[in-house]
Symmetry: C2
Subunit: 499 residues, 2 copies
């Protein structure tokens, strides 16, 4: 083998894998958005075949030989090639340790599990989902043991979703968060409740869809490359490359803020994904690098910008134009206070900024316990409800509004949740850094996010997955990550709302 | 190789190909229904890769060896296996003759051409589409010459779309159709015009969508396996197997009958596709066998049932419920007359039953001339307009309502159109046969199509692609195909409407 032909094989491999991933992602997306209800098994059949093909290609002797040859000739590779080889080999090292039939079985399992979860959530029927969830936990535990037998299985997955994290770092992070936020939330509860009537009423779906598109444009998304659909649980997915990204939302006709902040959140993911350098398309470097960095962007747009005074002052008149009757007699200040109220609640995706991390912490503790074998999947609903009472003081009325609310576990994402809290904290520190050179309030007041987006593009987006998350963050911040920025930011926000 | 392992490879091959075709069909479907506007190149990239992979698999040495082994041991195969081997080898023989890079190039071309056609149609801009269409005609002519150098290229494609047909059989068929229908249309033109005001008004899309779902249910489609979406041009596609079929429609807010009959037409295709025996799923025998038989079903439901007195008497009150203001003061008889009026017009998909075959004949003559090199693609609009004047007496105002109206050519389907007219004629004869044992009028009056569907299932649908179209038809009819049934059927309908 010579270096030139190995490099050309490296590109060809990624081009082919991108096409497989396009197909696999689109089949899943179709299942969530458009497919008739009884077609999950048909999708599982095709996904099983395609994932086996992509699995085989990415682990076959020729691929391994090429990548190991390139790895042995690192000095002849540029930065991008080095990183491609590193990421592909990392993936291979993992897959080589998983028996192929178990891998394919797992792919089929999560397609079915997602279908069962949809029905189970709709019908408040945890029992029907339980055997699937138990198999998912068993599988991820087993896969982690195959991959890194010397490591704790949950540590393994935490580090997969956000390289550099572990139970140790997260226990410390959440302890600090809990210590500062729990008293803060208590103090808020003692104050008079914030009036949220400005958010409530009857908001027809078609007008909410108009608002969704308006927000997407306002965020600076290129709607010729980013699509919108509705799903049970909002998400963002890339199809083939960063040139085709889809976000989804869910309209609640009794509350205008629910879909609004889903769209801004997913829009943040889409800004990050579509912001990759064009040359990264159809390579493993295309799109965001980790869940934590991804959430740092989505929650930055959703909360730090989307719930800021300046943005709400700008956007409220546009909301009022779409919903004149519903907003009559209300002001942007009421809207600002309402979307920033602190109020322990049941649903993570609709939680306020301050209680949000406690929702995440509960999931983290539950995952940790199940992965360690200290809690059975069967007992998850009971334990879920207990922790919600303990940390948030709320009574969970049913599993639909409890343990069944999120799609993540049905998709096999065990260890993902902590990245939401980490991302929020990253975002707050990035915000402080950005403000050294960008007048964000002035930009938001003008409704023109281009300077803000440009800062994110230059420091985060355009790299795609070229850098390790910790390095990317450190370089953007020009210092170490410190959750203090996040906690201070929340304390100031609370002070502004509650005095 | 032993026969058991060859048979198991035969199944594995088809399972894998079905997954590729699922992915390819879904990427196209996504492009037509949901994708953001500037993502065609991204789809072309992935489709190029996937079609090359499926092409390689279906023509690789191992596949050929397996199929030739099975072909040499026909006596050990059952009827289904024999037919699978026959169809797969037929495809291979074709593909082996096409240089792989030309095949992949062509797949990319038609993805781009469809995108360009969409824009060209919207903007009445044939010039932008012309180079793509010229390349498509060149390619299909070249591919036919590769595949069967001794056969005329257009004959080659006619026979591909409907085995057994050629310019000779179609010239004879269309001559007979023309000879009987042209005077019939003339006689209609001399009668007082039919009042179509019952169809006209303002029909909002959301209510039309409700009507679409109602019609799908009424047809007996299983909505847990058949989906509905909107596209520029209505079509039907299967994803992976007959267990997931999608139909599309296009709502015209000024005419309730346009989407209505699109839905019934595509619903007929979907009934046929979803009616395959379950054991045929993920094999080449799954789904309808030819374009002609497919159209015999779609146009049977659309016209013979959908425009019948009995069905309209049944369905009109339901339409009136959805559109009370628009239908006020109108009767089912007016509706029956309006949807059966004979009136030369511009748009094939909205043409009446009687003039319809002339729309098809014009396309047949144009394709024949371009394929023979007697007409350039550049001159197609002029010749299109001339033939519409000659046969139908109408002036084509622009290419949007002329040569750009249909999607078929942009998708590479040259030689497809004649099957619409053939299918209509097949359907009329199948209808006559069905009525020997089924009281279709009584079934339609009850609004219960199950007996009718059962007849079609038993004689047509459940076979999938197991039989050659001509054999399938002959066995269902228990006699030879004879266009006389079709012409008589139309003459009777005209007599009923025009006296």
């Amino acid at each position: 083998m010579d270096i030139a032909s190995a490099k050309s094989k490296l590109i060809e491999l990624q081009t082919t894998l991108s096409a497989y991933y396009h197909a696999e992602a689109l089949i899943s997306y179709d299942g969530d958005t458009a497919a008739p209800s009884a077609t999950a098994e048909n999708r599982a059949q095709s996904l099983g075949v395609l994932s086996e093909l992509s699995y085989r290609l990415s682990t076959c002797a020729e691929t391994v030989e090429t990548l190991e040859f390139l790895d042995a000739h690192k000095e002849e590779l540029d930065e991008r090639e080095k990183r491609m080889v590193y990421l592909l080999l990392k993936d291979i090292r993992f897959k080589q340790k998983i028996p192929p039939e178990e891998y394919v079985e797992y792919e089929k399992l999560i397609v079915l599990a997602q279908d069962v979860w949809h029905k189970a959530k709709a019908e408040n029927d945890f029992a029907s989902f339980e055997p699937y969830l138990a198999r998912i936990f068993d599988t991820v535990r087993r896969f982690a043991a195959y991959a890194k037998p010397e490591t704790d299985p949950y540590d393994y997955w935490l580090n997969e979703f956000e390289p550099g994290t572990s139970r140790q770092t997260l226990d410390a992070f959440f302890a600090r968060v809990r210590e500062r936020l729990v008293p803060l939330i208590k103090r808020c509860a003692e104050k008079p409740q914030v009036d949220v009537s400005v958010l409530k009423g009857d908001f027809p779906e078609d007008a909410q869809e108009k608002l969704a598109y308006l927000l997407m444009k306002q965020l600076g998304l290129d709607l010729t490359h980013v699509g919108l659909a509705t799903t049970e649980h909002p998400f963002t997915t890339s199809l083939g490359s960063h040139k085709d990204v889809r976000i989804t939302t869910h309209y609640h006709t009794d509350d205008v803020s629910s879909s609004m902040y889903s769209v801004i959140h997913e829009g943040g993911h889409a800004l990050y994904d579509t912001g990759s350098d064009d040359e990264l398309a159809y390579t493993v470097l295309d799109g965001g690098v980790s869940m934590g960095i991804h959430e740092s962007q989505s929650r930055f747009y959703e909360n730090i910008l989307g719930r800021s005074k300046a943005f709400i002052k700008f956007i409220f008149p546009k909301i009022a134009e779409l919903f004149p009757a519903q907003t009559q007699g209300h002001t942007w200040k009421e809207f600002y206070r309402a979307v920033n109220r602190v109020e322990p609640s049941l649903i993570r995706t609709e939680a306020d900024e301050v209680t949000y991390s406690l929702h995440v912490m509960i999931r983290y503790e539950l995952e940790k316990a199940v992965m360690a074998g200290q809690l059975s999947v069967h007992d998850l609903p009971r334990e879920w409800n207990r922790l919600y009472k303990e940390y948030l003081g709320v009574d969970v009325p049913d599993d639909t509004h409890g343990v069944l609310q999120d799609s993540h576990w049905s998709g096999g994402a065990i260890g993902y949740f902590p990245s939401y809290a980490l991302g929020s904290a990253y975002g707050a520190q990035l915000y402080a850094k950005m403000r050294e050179s960008v007048d964000t309030d002035a930009a938001l007041a003008r409704g023109d996010l281009s300077e803000i987006n440009e800062w994110n593009r230059r420091h985060i987006w355009h790299f795609g997955s070229l850098k390790e998350p910790a390095d990317l963050l450190k370089e953007a911040l020009e210092t170490e990550f410190d959750p203090e920025y996040y906690l201070k930011y929340l304390e100031e926000k609370v002070k502004d709302i509650y005095g």
